[in-house]
Point group: C2
């Protein structure tokens, strides 16, 4: 989507203007906006237009709280449905994360991290959960303003994922659920505390 870096958060989208810029009518623009609204990326207010959602630290915390609950459920169910293919898939992601930790490539690690969690969710074989999880993650990804440079957390995070995999692999659903919940909540807290001081500075200045 163009939102990646084209339109600032909080800004409103001018349908006519965008339509003229893209050489199309307003109808496709509207369709696209509704599609984005479906994923909670923009907010449509009646007779006032569509605004790019501006996510603050409070909402990040909320989303991670929800994500933790969903991850927990995914782990619980995934443990009941582990297959050789699933083991191989998760192992692949773990190897990648291990490599990126050694290289201290935070961005790549973060992507592999997301892939790992997504894989766990898929193993749960709950389509409703899969869709909801994707939606929540997309929303949480809206504030990529700060590249989260927490290199010392990488080792801790990697170890947590290994424990989660171990729990899943041994069929300990409740254990995996607890580990996942704790892991995501920790990550959320780290992210919020990394973001908050900057917003505080902005508010102060």
């Amino acid at each position: 989507m163009i939102l990646a870096g084209k339109i600032k958060p909080g800004e409103r989208i001018n349908e006519s203007q965008l339509a003229a810029a893209l050489q199309v009518s307003r109808a496709p623009i509207r369709e696209a906006c509704r599609q984005l609204e479906k994923h909670n990326i923009v907010e449509v207010r009646t007779n006032r237009g569509t605004f790019v959602r501006n996510i603050d630290a409070k909402e990040v915390a909320e989303l991670y709280d929800v994500r933790a609950a969903l991850d927990s459920l995914a782990g619980e169910r995934a443990a009941e449905r582990m297959t050789p293919a699933a083991v191989q898939e998760l192992t692949k992601h773990l190897k990648l994360m291990e490599a990126f930790t050694a290289q201290e490539d935070v961005a790549a690690y973060y992507r592999a991290n997301l892939d790992f969690h997504m894989a766990v969710v898929r193993v749960s074989a709950n389509n409703s959960l899969i869709n909801l999880y994707e939606s929540v993650c997309k929303q949480a990804l809206l504030f990529r303003r700060t590249s989260l440079s927490l290199p010392n957390r990488l080792c801790v995070s990697l170890d947590q994922h290994k424990q989660i995999f171990s729990a899943l692999n041994s069929g300990r659903g409740d254990w995996a659920a607890a580990l996942l919940k704790n892991h995501v909540l920790e990550a959320g807290r780290a992210l919020v505390s990394a973001i908050e001081p900057k917003t505080m500075e902005l508010e102060a200045g």
Copy 2:
């Protein structure tokens, strides 16, 4: 929504036809369809139209699994944020449920039941959770084909709600979470087995 009993599940929505029937243009119909798509009530396929989602027992089970996780989270957070106003609100719903149980008014009890859970979710003060929970509940409400006549379950359900309220009121978040999760999962299982008599027969036989 008109879907309540007007259009059969799985059926496609003819925009022109509906527009003519409602004396409006196709644009509002499209808008409404996208709104419904946002809530996962209909499915839009490109160049093929919008179809009312046909939810089967499997998906009901999935949704209730997710709902249980969300309810659990809501209970955990609500216990941390209970206020006198919240106590009063929840008590009100409990009283209503008690009255409807005495009258054996299943439909009214069911509505009050939903209100109670929704109130708990609101007390959690997590807007993302509130929106997601509403969405999941709306989806789960898509198959009201069978009026769930389980009068003997009413007393059990009412008792469970009282226990949940007690846990919330005493600030025992993890207890409330466990009770809620169990309660919703039970309700989901009851609903699924009530909807799919064939699977019950299979399991019994």
